[in-house]
Symmetry: C2
Subunit: 407 residues, 2 copies
């Protein structure tokens, strides 16, 4: 892309901003890069790279990682650049069915602070908005006073309309057509860019960018929480569908005589392998469901009922593998500890249902980002504009967020 | 793409051949275009277009569609071009589980001749290769003596490895790891390019190029024959997976207590809605299955058992719609007459299982190419090289195919 736009003369300012954003993304993706590496990756000459680095430095986005003497040394190829730690940040929100996690995340993907709160059953959207606003205030209060807040990224367990971020349907929250971005901004009384996305899609995004699936072009991130969803990247492209609702594998038929599902149907896969089923297998009370991750983490052997769920997890994965033919499936959420405990059962279930050539192509694995894939994916989504046009993104950032949100 | 490569100076011959192929594809897609339209679509100036048209004319690929006086008239913008009818062609093969159809197809997608033969149950690959070779000879014998045969495209009801065209698994033919392209070439004793693809993928390709889904970026072509498969185009890209096996929706779980499936599992969707189930609902004997299309075509009302299958077709479609969020689902194969007979039942079944926002985004429709979607998709696949580099493709074409295959 860079090479194709390099020579365009019609919109030089646009090309320069695009190149600024691309350079910033390279540093964001890798943590630290030398100018020689930037020259190679960008396909631009050294003096152009030096000018871009200088401007990103002036904008407060990056800093030099070599001694101060080489600070102006465009002629020294070993001089490196890295993300500026006290620079711009985003707020990421992972809204689950039973709890919400909010974090302040810097460019480069570092989580600086986090805060969490429980979400009650069948919650009112405005009350959840108020809860999230409180958590946002907590993490922003801990940020440097003048570091720009670029925006908020919010991961949702439901179908999010791509065109405007409307939550069309979040079955396990029992929400239909909720403009939740506006609700959160109203609770914060803050005019900042906010983006919403499906939780599993964002898990896939983060794992692809800096987790277990870097450089993997065909992957599925399976999110196992109260509901089950898939984020899919196929031939390097995110699977979205016409409106952004693709990947709802939790409502695959698993047993037509099965339990009713929040979606209104019956016997969906998530009724068999979702958190309520896992809790029942462990004889946990419903109020223990939010602690299910810890409970599973502490277990060293799995009871028979849990192994049976692991087999059904593998069987449903067979369908997922037949449909997407991925090279990697990443098991996130409660499926992380479940897979760690019952790897043999999951693998056997997969073998029951996957066609052999597709099964032979795939590897099941744990998230490279642990329990933070979705949260970091929400951060990546919120950062997207700064990699498209850093100047414009900084222009819409809030530079006194701690003061504004404390007031 | 054209605009980006126009100015490249490093490989002018490559750029010229690319532009030749792109111009030919525009004429192929639309049937006939004026030079003014070509200038607009290609983003090239009139004299470059005139030179490309002249070369494609010399190569015998296109002809002028306006009176002879304007034949050299680059200055007359209304002069049109169209595909030359006695020019190059491909042979397309639609290998089904119970019959094979072979056709001679010209650039522009015109089917000139076709021939068909039954395929026995659990057939030997070499015998099917011999049957197809006989059909190829029949259709090639009817072609102009010196028209170039560009290649053969073969649609297969199974998983085809993208890298080399190996049939990894065709459950309903009971084939594993069959290098069927080589078998057909051996039976023909002809060294001609041959390409293999999955039948549903090719149905989607043809419907996207010249059928019901022109300009639709998110579509599913559902192929209903003995097996069931999906060809998916998502955000304008073909869904392939890491090795080319994606889209195997026929093996979605439909009922864990259901019938055994050829894939080795049980209760797959295709055991409920595939041809054997339809035949049983109509009380047809197994030897009538190959005539199922005609039988369904002749029906005006559906018996209860058939309506029940239509409901299950819709329910499985619900999962397909939840997974891909397409704007269009095209019902091909036996699902064409089934949907025509039982539209209400299919739609109701879809409503049972699809999440509302995804259901609201989708329309179910019949193939624009009738029963020829897969066959024409195989032709499109075989033509692909001529749109990449017409000169190279003609270089590997057979220019005396009728004589060679008669010998």
């Amino acid at each position: 892309m860079t090479a194709a736009t390099r020579g365009a003369g019609t919109n030089q300012e646009g090309v320069r901003r695009h190149n600024l954003g691309t350079l910033l993304r390279h540093v964001h993706d890798t943590g630290e890069l030398s100018r020689a590496e930037l020259t190679g990756r960008m396909g631009l000459n050294r003096s152009t790279i030096a000018a871009l680095v200088s401007e990103l430095d002036t904008l407060g986005l990056i800093e030099h990682s070599s001694p101060a003497t080489s600070r102006r040394g465009a002629g020294r190829p070993s001089a490196g650049v890295r993300i500026r730690e006290d620079g711009p940040y985003v707020v990421a929100v992972d809204l689950g069915v039973d709890n919400a996690v909010v974090a302040r995340v810097g460019l480069g993907g570092k989580i600086w602070h986090r805060a969490a709160a429980p979400i009650p059953e069948d919650p009112e959207a405005w009350m959840v908005g108020a809860t999230i606003a409180t958590l946002v205030r907590q993490v922003v209060a801990l940020s440097p006073a003048d570091a720009p807040l670029l925006g908020i990224g919010l991961a949702v367990p439901g179908l999010v309309r791509r065109s405007d971020g409307l939550i069309r349907h979040a079955p396990n929250l029992n929400w239909h057509d909720v403009s939740f971005g506006s609700i959160v901004l109203a609770a914060l009384a803050l005019d900042v860019p906010i983006a919403l996305g499906n939780d599993a899609d964002l898990g896939a995004l983060a794992e692809h960018r800096r987790g277990a699936a870097v450089a993997v072009d065909d992957l599925v991130y399976l999110s196992g929480n109260v509901g089950v969803g898939a984020g899919v990247i196929t031939s390097g492209h995110r699977l979205e569908g016409v409106a952004g609702y693709a990947g709802e594998v939790g409502h695959l038929y698993h047993d037509p005589r099965g339990l009713p599902c929040h979606c209104g149907s019956r016997g969906c896969w998530e009724t068999v392998v979702g958190a309520p089923a896992i809790a029942e297998a462990l004889r946990c009370s419903p109020d223990q469901v939010p602690r299910l991750g810890e409970i599973l983490d502490e277990m060293t052997t799995a009871p028979r009922e849990l192994r049976s769920i692991a087999t059904d997890l593998g069987r449903g994965l067979g369908a997922v593998v037949n449909i997407f033919n991925p090279s990697l499936v990443i098991l996130g959420g409660y499926f992380l500890p479940l897979f760690r405990l019952c790897r043999a059962e999951v693998t056997a279930g997969l073998g029951d249902r996957a066609l052999m050539p597709a099964r032979d192509s795939v590897r099941l694995t744990l998230p490279g980002l642990g329990n933070d894939s979705v949260l970091l994916g929400a951060a990546e989504m919120a950062m997207e504009p700064v990699f498209t046009d850093p100047v414009a993104s900084l222009g819409s950032a809030i530079t006194d967020a701690p003061a504004r949100l404390a007031g």
